[in-house]
Amino acid sequence: MTVTEGVQTEQRWRLGDPVTAGNTPPGPIEDAWDTRRFELKLVNPANRRKHTVIVVGTGLAGGAAAASLGEMGYNVKAFCYQDSPRRAHSIAAQGGINAAKNYRNDGDSIYRLFYDTVKGGDFRARERNVYRLAQLSVEIIDQCVAQGVPFAREYGGLLDNRSFGGAQVSRTFYARGQTGQQLLLGAYSALERQINAGTVEMNTRHEMLDLIVIDGRARGIVVRDMISGAIETHMADAVVLGTGGYGNVFFLSTNAKGCNTTAIWRSHRKGALFGNPCFTQIHPTCIPVSGDHQSKLTLMSESLRNDGRVWVPLKRDDNRAPDQIPEAERDYYLERRYPAFGNLVPRDVASRASKQVCDEGRGVGPGGLGVYLDFADSINRLGEHVIRERYDNLFEMYERITGENPYTQPMRIYPAVHYTMGGLWVDYNLQSSIPGLFVIGEANFSDHGANRLGASALMQGLADGYFVLPSTVGDYLAQTPGNTADASHPAAVQAVSETNERIEKLLGAGGTRTVDSFHRELGKTMWDYCGMGRTEEGLRKALDRIPELRDEFWQSVRVLGSNESLNQSLEKAGRVADFFELAELMCVDALHRKESCGGHFREEYQTEEGEAERKDDEYSYVAAWEFGGVGAPPVLHKEPLTFDYVHPAQRSYK
């Protein structure tokens, strides 16, 4: 990529050439994936074992990809930081997975799922990617059922469905409130089968710390054995990252504590473009913060909005218990503002509406940062046993955390960081801008635009992992000479020595502040200025503060112990160091995008009714950022988005 001479839009970033290599197949959208599959070069089954593919991350995307590649006969090396591939954070997804089966005969179709997803993403996703996702959704359910995933069923033995936000059909398949767990265990069992068959070598408690690029191609990774501290080099013909999202940049999020950006950030530093980093999703229904000790936030599934009604008191500072507030003095603000979708508006709309009523002083609970999610009407209408059948594990979890019983008093909920739509930029084949580096699942930027619909993350992870990546990676391998370098190659040696230097620097800083205290401060800065509402002034403040804090971190962080042992402080320190650099890019991206769309709400750009105001003439593009150096301006490459099927319009859920 080159930088256009003389174009200096602002010192915070520089403008580069447009991205033209989206690599989408031409022709009718219905045939695009078929066309591409026919174009893809194949690897003879007998030759596949000669190709080594590294897969980092074993969630729905990585686990499914590693298992599928193993089944096809490739030599796979899989890595995860947890002690078992079964624990990746896909496991925590509660509500369900979308598929355009139309088993309910309620007018669903592949086209409608495609349409809902493009619209739900506020017209900032590639149409052809989304259409493929909708097509594959159907096969995913078949595959999971065959693996033994115990989806909810009706008395006739057929699969049950429920509704989710942003849709008016029932297309969400579920396994009580543990859908992600059951789908991940399906992928995990397929993966373990391949480990047993010898096609996949599994490396648990190994964390990727760098990407090895040789002659412009991804050829390996540097990992740290988290038990012994050994820094290892693993070489391959191609590298696949399924390492999840970066919501933990905010410190408090619904992500698992170990979720981090290091794999994708280190790859970004090695040349992979980063797409739409500021597109983060704030989930409307999470359990509110209870104090300074808070280490993470817990989601309450969106599916609860099927039967729960969201409200706050009409009056400000109303401290009465919820059952003392009569109907006439309650504001069911989602039902009032969005009568057609009611409590099932998309997540970004619901989150912003909650923030608005709390900003007005009508929030409930300690600190006024909460709204009620009330099941009283549903319990009266359907009976407690029905609600118990649908949501019991979620209600139990809520009671365990808050000590309050949601069968007898309304839940208190508040928005929290949940998912990142942004991620490494990939083309239609899921290949990043570094040849041989593929990125799947939440780690890439594709498919969800500026806002993801509920029950679509599981769908995308599995579509990428089971169906897209195993086809496209073969095309790359068929056309590319195999890797001949080993750990002694200069590029590998350099990556290892840089990794060692970083570790020594972290251990040797010898300061006084803990890693967590820096992470909390970074997270607070990001939440205040790059969270639910963003302004030019706030983002500039954040961009002034983050580099200062980053410098303080490197000078005064205290990481005890050594590298040559299990050292959880060292693990965290490396991740937080990368979050600092990512945070700056997120703020630059949010600053440059002078419009509101989906999860990116710039307060300067809103309609009179307080809805997001897109600027399609100027910003209908993917912002693909090139690394410019630490503290140096990144380079913006724009990939224009075209909409041939779904005409961009102001989203309306009224």
Partner: protein, 249 residues
Amino acid sequence: MKLTLHVWRQANANAPGQMKTYAADNVDEDMSFLEMLDVVNEELIGKGEDPIAFDHDCREGICGMCGLVINGVAHGPERATTTCQLHMRHFTDGQEVWIEPWRARAFPVLKDLVVDRSAFDNIIQAGGYISVNTGAAPDAHAVPVPKDAADTAFEAAACIGCGACVAACPNASAMLFTAAKITHLGLLPQGQPERKSRVIAMVDAMEQEGFGSCTNIGECSAACPKSISLDTIARMNGDLLGASLRASS
């Protein structure tokens, strides 16, 4: 509230370990147990002492990564609750709390409260799956599954693989973990073709990994954060008997 903690400290797998005592003086009742340990660790780092290592990840009771023996009970005093979901409101001011790792020969301690549970993965590798390659599946509605079978299979499939069953068992047996997977797959029509070979292979792997035998005590199910039923063990034994008879005839 203020607590006195007695915590197992062990530098690595080969080093000897011992209980060490720490004061936890700033405990809020809304903290989770792991958040209480976070606060203790921040104080330890401040004093230049090595923080206590413990496994954890999702902190919402589903990943199965966390697991501590608290006052002699796997995952602590609350029923059907993982360590990360245990909150300090269940403790009282001035209480002494003993915190230990899972104790089992098949789960060697790696550091402090962190153990190696890869034996569980090895049991799954032996047969805890349905052999269906990606792309080979029939339509999801091709085979109806009776609702009660699907529901019971789900209840067994809810196992999070944390290892509390092994830690709670006086024999350090992995019967409940193994039986949960065998029950989940054995109840579904899709799991029938491999039902007999699966139970033989998985039980064999379980024994190879060095877990103890089952003497029907039931501590496993009582400690299980997902309340996996002892019925699964009865079902596994039945399947094993049937499969073994067929194999030997």
